[in-house]
């Protein structure tokens, strides 16, 4: 019985949290988004804009990927990127998925020298206007709590030959010029981070959501000796994902009931344990 109690309590808690929780959701009003890649190798440049697959309303979808091989005397540089941002809307939550990765490797059939190579990639949801809409579509100004629950991941392999390698990401929600929630990560070491914040809002108001990822790397006057295997120089990537949920702010009496309920469950749990 003791073993069955934990999941039972968990389920009850979930029910408690959910009941009265879902009061509103985000609706997309407008958005500005872009992504792309640019590279220049000893004066030869490459450019790859991303596709915007977003519909006229609802989900925002950006996607781009490109693979290049830049020939040089005695060898070549292979470089690539892939980046995307998906912001999907439902009445349950607004979900974010963003990734960006880049690569660089050098193949040298003889002594290979690179004067100047620079590559940069980005994904940028620079201004997504979101309106808080009530469960029944109303905009009555009632108080809600907006929370974001998510994760960021970074993978960072820069060979010592690489100069100016960088990887950064962030997101923010603001009301006019006031930042309500923010997360920034200048990735210096691979790893995972939780991304959580919450703030008070009102049904009917418009907020601005922004989210970005940047990465880049370069080679300056670099020389590579002949090698049968390519030199792996850059292997980086990042993801940022999570969900916005909007919950009604409970009335004081609801809090009291919730506390009483939790207390009761605690008492039951103690009794069971004592047995």
């Amino acid at each position: 019985m003791k073993n069955q109690l934990k999941p039972l309590l968990g389920a009850l808690l979930l029910v408690g949290l959910c009941s009265g929780a879902q009061a509103a959701y985000f609706d997309r009003v407008d958005y500005v988004a872009s992504a792309g890649y640019s590279a220049a190798t000893d004066g030869t440049s490459a450019n790859s804009p991303a596709m915007d697959l977003s519909g006229t309303s609802g989900d925002v979808s950006l996607f781009g990927a490109a693979v290049y091989n830049s020939p040089l005397t005695n060898g070549s540089l292979a470089h690539s990127y892939a980046g995307d941002a998906f912001l999907s809307f439902s009445t349950a939550s607004t979900d974010l998925w963003m990734t960006l990765n880049q690569s660089l490797s050098a193949t040298s059939g003889g002594a290979l020298s690179v004067g100047n190579h620079q590559q940069d990639a980005f994904v940028d949801l620079s201004a997504v206007k979101l309106k808080i809409v009530g469960e029944a579509g109303e905009a009555n100004g009632s108080a809600v709590n907006v929370s974001f629950l998510g994760n960021a991941s970074g993978l960072l392999d820069f060979n010592s030959m690489v100069s100016d390698g960088y990887l950064g990401l962030g997101l923010s929600v603001s009301r006019g010029n006031t930042v309500l929630g923010e997360y920034l990560w200048d990735v210096q070491q691979a790893g995972n981070q939780a991304v959580n914040f919450s703030f008070a809002g009102n049904v009917g108001e418009e907020l601005t959501f922004s989210s970005y990822m940047l990465t880049g790397a370069g080679l300056k006057n670099a020389s590579f000796a002949q090698s049968t295997l390519p030199y792996e120089l850059v292997n980086t990537g990042a993801s940022l994902n999570g969900s916005f949920t909007i919950a009604a702010v409970p009335e004081p009496e609801t809090y009291a009931m919730l506390l009483a309920g939790l207390g009761l469950m605690g008492a039951v749990a103690r009794r069971r344990k004592a047995r």
Binding site: C18, Q22, L53, A66, V67, W97, T99, N101
Partner: protein, 656 residues
């Protein structure tokens, strides 16, 4: 979203890993990771248990949009990158391929279509060509299994004019069988109205028939609260107005959503349904123009963001088939499709019991695919619609008719459906033995060399008797198609007294449940009908059985007392058919020559009245009046001859 749904979604999400860890019992071992037919160039290998990168990408599964697929591919590939199972360059290559492959830009939806099922649930009932619903279900199941994005739709006459096993139980067995198969929509046909709107609404909504004791006899699993459950699928009737409240009897449109790509199905019957259904069946209903009704719904459908539109219509045509391909089509469906809004992508038709997949131009002069799947569960139309997930519109439609088999074919019978059929076969054993009349000797459908049979005489006489009074049609003659007489009436058979005719036997002779239609023809049209017995469209001679008092002479040059040999068949199609063989002046009614300009009331069954068996001259008949079902007419005729019905004398048609 309500709270329960949200809770369910949250609980489900909590147990769902980011990358589905399928068992990969048969891993995709292609050397490089393929996106559809697009080669990413990335070496394929096991990365999660036995699962390869290609397995995890799941490009073969249906995707409702390109975004949905790209987002999935992005998550899978980033997870692999994070775990250092692929490099950043490989991820870039995978993402380039994911996008360039176009996976998710289109979605293939399978439509499984049929029409004129007419309650033929029991294998072999009515004809050995009828495979029964258990074989039908197996074929549908196979088609469903080939694509999880599918809909099963019917273009009318699912019920009505059905054989004993379904008809005796008010066609509830057919609805229950369809519920077990799992179908989506049935457009009403004329026969859905055979028993009137109240009974038809009961087919949809359930509840037992108010008086018929054979109602509500289904297996417990098929009932609801101990009564007939009604259809789990939706009846559609876009052009049938209930004059009580001026709304359509059933919704005009049914919508099915395929991962955000919706298909709207407009369902309707032929406008002239009241001319082929008994007046009581269509009381309180108004039937409107088919094309106008469909076109009027198009803006409403598009306003909902739906661009793929399919019409299910119980009206059809007669195709010209050359080497298995439709090279032309005639009939009422042509004019209807010619007037359809170009937004309509596909038409599933019916009513003519033909099997075809033809192209007919719409109002914009563009060809639209128009299909029909024969009759009696024998054929299914296998249709693939390709939807552009961005515009939501159909970009390609392909269709082919597939045979379900017959009553002896090796197609496995679905046990779940067989259970329903056997249940009703058992229950109908006693009613099938009900005495409906007596005969003095075996009455056969064997024809003499003039083309006349003893049973044909009796059936035509029964039809004339049922429609000769002023109130029932004032008919002077009746014509019966020979193909509608499916068996002999035996004097002696197991389980009955000699001379008795059981309900089951009468049903076996005339299993189609056609109703009688009395119409007005000119004498010239009667001559034309008789010449169509060997007309240019006939595959073989079809000599109509005629009622007493109707006589004529012909000089047809090939035998009529046996099937034509292969050589005679070639002679028939190359040099005989299309010529005139009725002796001018020989056609008489009660001894009086039929005059070309004079009008005569003639009774035929609803099949012939619609031009069935290529008797298109009958479609020119006017002042149509619907009458009794053919077996009821035969039963009434036997009741009126208590001493026993004798075989017909086969002396009405003379061969010169």
């Amino acid at each position: 979203m309500n709270k329960q749904t949200l809770l369910a979604a949250l609980l489900a999400a909590a147990f769902m890993p980011v990358v589905a860890q399928a068992d990969c019992l048969t891993p995709d071992t292609s050397p490089t990771v393929m996106f559809g037919t697009y080669d990413s160039g990335v070496t394929n290998r096991a990365v999660s248990g036995a699962c390869t990168i290609d397995d995890l990408i799941s490009d073969e599964q249906p995707w409702g949009s390109q975004q949905a697929f790209l987002s999935h591919a992005s998550q899978v590939s980033f997870d692999l990158l994070k775990q250092r199972k692929i490099t950043s360059l490989e991820r870039s290559k995978l993402m380039v391929a994911a996008s360039a492959s176009g996976v998710g830009t289109t979605l293939k939806v399978k439509l499984i279509g049929f029409n004129d099922f007419h309650g033929y649930i029991k294998s072999g009932e009515g004809s050995s060509s009828n495979p029964g619903v258990a074989r039908f279900a197996t074929k549908i199941k196979e088609l469903k299994a080939s694509n999880s994005m599918h809909a099963v739709v019917s273009a009318g006459d699912m019920i009505g004019a059905s054989p004993l096993t379904s008809a005796l139980f008010k066609d509830e067995p057919t609805i229950e069988a369809m519920n077990r198969i799992g179908i989506d929509f049935n457009a009403v046909g004329n026969h859905e109205f055979d028993e009137g709107k109240t009974e038809l609404l009961r087919m949809q909504n359930g509840g037992n028939h108010p008086t018929d004791a054979f109602s509500g006899q289904g297996l417990p699993a098929d009932l609801k609260a101990g009564e007939f459950r009604g259809a789990d699928f939706k009846f559609l009737a876009a052009n049938v107005l209930d004059t009580d409240n001026n709304t359509t009897l059933f919704p005009g449109v049914g919508v099915k959503n395929f991962l955000g790509n919706k298909i709207a199905f407009i369902g309707m019957t032929l406008e002239s349904t009241p001319t082929i259904v008994s007046p009581s069946g269509v009381a309180g209903l108004q039937f409107q123009d088919e094309a106008d009704s469909a076109n009027a719904l198009v803006p409403q459908i598009k306003a909902q963001g739906i661009e793929t539109i399919v019409v299910l219509i119980h009206e059809g045509g007669f195709p010209t088939v050359t080497a298995g391909n439709c090279t032309g089509i005639s009939g009422a469906i042509v004019d209807i499709v010619n007037r359809l809004d170009p937004a309509i992508d596909l038409v599933l038709s019916g009513h003519t019991h033909q099997a075809y997949s033809c192209l007919i131009n719409n109002a914009a002069g563009k060809p639209v695919r128009v299909t029909s799947a024969g009759q009696y569960a024998r054929v299914l139309t296998d249709i693939d619609i390709t939807i552009d997930t961005r515009t939501k519109d159909a970009v390609a439609v392909t269709a082919s008719n597939i045979s379900v088999g017959n009553s002896t074919s090796t197609v496995v019978q679905d046990p779940g459906l067989l259970e329903v059929v056997n249940h009703y076969v058992g229950l109908s054993a006693v009613p099938a033995s009900r005495l409906v009349g007596t005969i003095t000797a075996t009455i056969t459908r064997t024809t003499n060399n003039a083309g006349e049979s003893a049973l044909g005489d009796v059936i035509a006489d029964a039809q004339l008797a049922a429609t000769s009074s002023a109130g029932t049609g004032a008919a002077l003659a009746a014509f019966m198609n020979p193909g509608g007489i499916r068996a002999d009436l035996p004097f002696t058979a197991a389980g009955k007294v000699d001379g008795n005719v059981t309900y089951g036997e009468a049903f076996t002779v005339q299993p189609f449940g056609n109703s009688l239609v009395t119409l007005t023809l000119t004498g010239a049209q009667i001559y034309a009908v008789l010449e169509q017995q060997w007309g240019v469209a006939q595959p073989f001679p079809r000599v109509l059985q005629v009622s007493n008092g109707f006589t004529y002479t012909h000089n047809f040059p090939l035998p009529l007392n046996a099937n034509l040999t292969a050589a005679q068949g070639v002679t028939f199609t190359t040099s005989v058919r299309g010529n005139s063989f009725v002796v001018p002046g020989s056609v008489k009614i009660n001894g009086v020559p039929v005059d070309g300009a004079t009008s005569y009331r003639v009774t035929v069954n609803s099949f012939l009245a619609d031009g069935g068996d290529t008797f298109s001259a009958l479609t020119g008949g006017t002042n149509r009046l619907g009458g009794a079902v053919d077996t009821d007419a035969l039963e009434a005729y036997m009741a009126a001859n208590p001493a026993g019905v004798a075989p017909g004398a086969q002396n009405r048609i003379t061969r010169q």
